[in-house]
């Protein structure tokens, strides 16, 4: 296989990692919404933690985006 | 293909003009930009030409537009921000009229091209940067250094604030562009369903009622989005201008 083709295939596979981040984000926001509907008065207070969880989870997705970008533009 | 949802966004050259190897052709996009400016100016000039103390209907519409933008600018940037009123009002009218023009069938939506919205956003951001430096000199850079940050973290935080600042024109333009593009594609796809279902005979015509109702509802939503996006664009412009006038508070 040519190295060029392997690079693009690798970038595509690396993007699968973002799907995992997507699942995680769905869990976080879904659970936040479920909790917020049970106790709406407490929801606003937990918004900061929601964003914290979002950021930490999305960071892992960003790592796979980084790997994909590096395969495409740097290697 | 008649049902191609992307076809409406194609740029066609009406009068090919080429200057020094660069393409300056007058396209359908330019035609509709000219039409937008002409319609907005003509409306404002004709509606206010009476200058009645008791406004006519048209005059009160343009007075409402004036009051709306002026109130928004005064709220966000203070009375000092009113010196930017001509720019903000022109931007608001341009985006609003261009969005509403796009709602006519067979018309071209100028704001559904990212280069147009990006140019508008860059106009805003460059105004902010130039005015900020002109007015405050290097003091404008205080915008990037928040108060109460430990000294060790200042380089990192400043870098993040700079990136956050630079991302503003992108998010400003992408938001307007994505809303208009997505809305018009959805509209076209649903109305395409009506056509392709109604060719399927009696059952198809009956089934076509559903996407037809959806198209009507989406058209109403698109009018709301057209106004809302012009509003959001203007509000954010006012907030960014506020940064140029009062960089640190």
């Amino acid at each position: 296989m040519e190295a060029e083709a392997a690079k693009y295939i690798g970038a595509g596979i690396a993007c699968l990692g973002m799907g995992g981040a997507g699942i995680g984000l769905g869990q976080i926001f879904g659970n936040y919404l479920a909790g917020a509907l049970r106790n709406p008065s407490a929801a606003d207070g937990q918004f900061g933690r929601l964003i914290f969880g979002f950021a930490v989870t999305e960071a892992l997705g960003i790592f796979s985006l980084l790997v994909a970008l590096m395969l495409l533009f740097v290697v | 293909m008649a049902n191609d949802p992307i076809h409406q966004f194609q740029i066609q050259k009406l009068f090919p003009i080429e200057v020094g190897g660069m393409d300056f052709s007058f396209t359908n996009s330019s035609l509709f930009m000219v039409a937008t400016v002409a319609a907005a100016s003509a409306f404002l000039i004709f509606s206010t030409s009476g200058r009645g103390l008791v406004p006519t209907r048209m005059q009160s519409v343009s007075e409402m537009a004036y009051e709306f933008v002026a109130g928004m600018l005064r709220d966000a940037a203070g009375s000092e921000g009113m010196r930017f009123f001509p720019m903000v009002f022109s931007l608001f009218m341009f985006v609003l009229v261009a969005n509403l023009f796009g709602m006519f069938p067979y018309f071209f939506t100028v704001t559904s091209h990212i280069i147009v919205t990006f140019a508008l956003a860059m106009l805003v951001i460059l105004t902010v940067v130039f005015y900020g430096f002109m007015r405050h000199g290097m003091g404008f850079l205080k915008l990037f250094v928040p108060d109460g940050v430990p000294a060790a973290l200042i380089p990192l935080v400043t870098m993040i604030e700079v990136i956050s600042f630079l991302s503003r024109p992108i998010s400003l333009s992408v938001r307007l562009f994505a809303n208009m593009l997505a809305g018009h594609i959805t509209l076209k796809v649903f109305s395409g369903f009506v056509v392709s279902l109604s060719t399927l005979g009696a059952v198809g015509i009956f089934g076509a009622i559903l996407p037809l109702g959806m198209t009507v509802a989406l058209t109403a939503l698109e009018f709301l989005v057209a106004f809302l996006q012009a509003y959001v664009f203007t509000v954010l412009t006012c907030m960014y201008l506020n940064d140029a006038i009062h960089p640190s508070h």
Partner: protein, 126 residues
């Protein structure tokens, strides 16, 4: 004109100089007018605030993605310019991610704008 006087007290005080009753009535009218104005403002603010959840979603995600795109772009340009490949891309993409989260928090009104005046904060919910 007592046709729509809000209470009878004004009529009782008509023996006094009429200005007292009139100004009292005007104050009351002003008060009700103010209340109604505030109600209307609250209603209109609420309706623009939650006009379409879709617009809100596009706003948030465009803020987030813009941060990442700008960070990656800056890193890539620095790499091209200084020849520090690939570290510029790595560092600036992560910084751009942080800036994106910051943008989202600002758009949600959780953190003040850098140039914001504190009492103006409720106006930021565009």
């Amino acid at each position: 004109m007592n046709s729509s006087s809000p209470d009878q007290k004004d009529d009782n005080s008509a023996a006094n100089p009429p200005e007292a009753g009139l100004s009292g009535r005007r104050d009351q009218l002003n008060r009700t007018l103010n209340e109604r104005k505030q109600e209307e403002a609250a209603v209109s603010r609420r309706s623009t605030g939650s006009a379409t959840g879709y617009a809100q979603a596009v706003k948030m995600s465009s803020e987030f993605i813009a941060g990442i795109v700008v960070g990656a772009g800056m890193g890539w340009l620095l790499d091209e310019w200084l020849g520090t490949s690939p570290f510029g891309l790595i560092v600036f993409l992560l910084l751009g991610f942080v800036a994106g989260v910051l943008n989202v928090l600002r758009a949600a009104g959780q953190i003040a704008e850098p140039g914001a005046r504190p009492p103006k904060q409720d106006d930021r919910s565009d």
